[in-house]
């Protein structure tokens, strides 16, 4: 049914959700010296220091591991003068607009499709096999076919990411719809809810926390797919930047590109967590 990652993430979310506050406190008792955030800062600064030390001592040639200063200098240079006919901002914008477009299309289509699968046995019978058929295939495996059909233009890349994002959102939505507590639905029916009201005012809000989790997972998959697709077929974008820098052995731009890719992924994740905290604050509190 699910890909292993999806299940693992959902289970993790479920475990955290089912922990009572006291348990959570007990579980983090071992971290009395520092708060979790402080531990994270510690591990990240250690990594950076190690990196700096290794390049400063010359233990590894700059071609293989450029120094942090060199990468920072390149950040300045690529931001202002550009690399391969585009500035860092333009590469970033190209990647972000692709994933933004794909995400928008996926959210607009996957949520209604997921609702339909969750609500109607007919829709489930019709659509479930289609999604299950393409979902396990790594997107890069069918990228060549998409390129043959639609060329190497923007459409192909957006379509590829769209497909990567669509399945997790649709599946999360359908699962969440089927998991809505029957008593909630019955309560609304006993208050006179029509079918449309039931879907829009009870089922959809009940499913929203899990839909947002689906979007988080989909966005992660989409971002990896995007960067990989840009490595293969693009003239602009972060993946393209890294790939062409590697061909010319400009390793500081490679490291810079990878760092920006990681930062964007991190920012997307934080943004969605914020949305969850802001719009589904009841999640995990019964």
């Amino acid at each position: 049914m699910f890909e292993p990652i999806l299940i693992a993430q959902l289970q993790e979310a479920e475990q955290v959700r089912s922990m009572r506050p006291a348990q959570v406190a007990a579980a983090s008792k071992s971290a009395v010296l520092l708060s979790p955030v402080q531990w994270s800062v510690l591990s990240l600064t250690s990594l950076l220091t190690l990196w700096w030390l290794v390049s400063w001592q010359g233990w590894v040639a700059p071609l293989f591991l450029p120094s942090p200063q060199a990468v920072l200098a390149k950040l300045w240079l690529v931001s202002n003068q550009g690399f391969m006919d585009a500035t860092l901002g333009q590469h970033l914008a190209a990647s972000l607009s692709r994933i933004g477009l794909a995400l928008l299309a996926a959210v607009l289509l996957a949520i209604p499709v997921g609702l339909a699968i969750g609500l109607s046995p007919i829709a489930r019978g019709l659509l479930d096999p289609l999604i299950e058929l393409y979902r396990p295939i790594p997107p890069l495996a069918y990228l060549p076919l998409i390129v043959i059909w639609f060329g190497i233009g923007e459409f192909s890349k957006v379509l590829l990411i769209y497909l990567a994002i669509f399945a997790p959102i649709a599946i999360a939505t359908a699962t969440a719809v089927r998991a809505v507590e029957p008593s909630r639905i019955q309560a609304a029916q006993s208050l006179g809810a029509t079918r449309v009201q039931l879907i829009s005012q009870v089922i959809f809000p009940s499913a929203l926390p899990d839909i947002l989790t689906g979007i988080r997972i989909g966005l992660g998959a989409g971002w990896s797919t995007l960067v990989a697709a840009e490595l293969v077929a693009a003239t602009r974008g972060l993946g393209f930047m890294v790939q062409s820098a590697a061909q010319f052995l400009v390793s500081d731009v490679v490291v810079l590109g990878i760092a920006v890719i990681a930062l964007v992924a991190f920012a997307l994740e934080l943004g969605l967590r914020y949305l969850q905290a802001r719009y589904v604050p009841w999640h995990g509190r019964g």
Partner: protein, 259 residues
């Protein structure tokens, strides 16, 4: 004067070999508080689901003021054992939900919801989040929510089952006051014998599965409370204790026969 009537109602789930309900007849009239008491798993919740219209009977008829019940509807308000509140709405939003579904204007539905929150002693809790309420408070929100829709009968499935003894007694008193104020017909399920004897104006004793009505008792302890007598004075009345013990031995007897 509304009445919900069950005539020879039986129920058998498709997957099961033993029926759950066997020829149950009962009537919930306006101003009556009918309590169904029965052992765990005998089919009490199933009975309430039939009355609410969530499940269709395999035999017999359920009539609300003469019209057959076929689906859930706002004329039959339900209070669930697990409160079934909507966590994305605050207390006021939950209580006003039924009126919102009906398209009542915001100001009007909120005014009505505030009145009902007063009635269940939750004035001042309007903007509280559902998850910040205690179990007893949630049940009161559930009760107020069911009442806002102004149903003809009120159906409650073990509404106080999860509460501690003290809270439970306060909720019983509250329910009696609400019942008295609304003059509606109320149907309540419980497996707590003292609760049943205290609340019921009619007590219906069910056997274990398949549930049959083994006894009906007309009682008036709830009315005595509503007329002003103190809870403890009623529950320590020898007459109350006698009936409680009589019901208990009847329940034990029914269990012994079944076994």
């Amino acid at each position: 004067m509304s009445s919900l009537r069950l005539q020879q109602v039986s129920l058998r789930y498709e997957s099961a070999s033993v029926p759950v309900l066997d020829a149950i007849s009962l009537e919930v009239n306006a101003g009556e508080l009918v309590v169904a008491l029965g052992p765990s798993g005998c089919g009490k919740t199933s009975l309430l689901k039939l009355m609410a219209g969530f499940v269709a009977p395999s035999g017999g008829e359920i009539l609300l003021d003469g019209t057959p019940v076929r689906a859930p509807g706002a004329e039959r308000g339900v209070v669930f054992q697990d409160d079934a509140l909507l966590p994305w709405l605050d207390v006021l939003g939950n209580v006003a939900f039924g009126l919102k579904l009906r398209g009542v204007a915001r100001a009007e539905r909120e005014a009505r919801a505030r009145e009902l929150l007063q009635l269940v002693d939750l004035g001042g809790y309007e903007t509280q989040r559902i998850w910040a309420l205690s179990g007893g408070q949630r049940q009161r929100v559930g009760l107020a929510r069911a009442l806002t829709a102004d149903p003809r009968v009120l159906l409650l499935d073990e509404p106080f089952g999860a509460l501690d003894a003290l809270n439970r007694e306060q909720m019983q008193a509250l329910l009696l006051r609400v019942w008295q104020a609304s003059r509606k017909g109320v149907f309540l399920i419980t497996h707590d014998i003292e609760e049943a004897v205290f609340l019921a104006s009619e007590l219906v004793l069910l056997s274990s599965r398949p549930a049959r009505v083994v006894e009906r008792l007309k009682l008036d302890f709830g009315r005595r409370y509503a007329a002003g007598e103190a809870v403890r004075s009623i529950k320590s009345d020898p007459e109350f204790i006698r009936i409680r013990e009589q019901v208990l031995s009847r329940v034990l007897g029914a269990l012994a026969v079944a076994a």
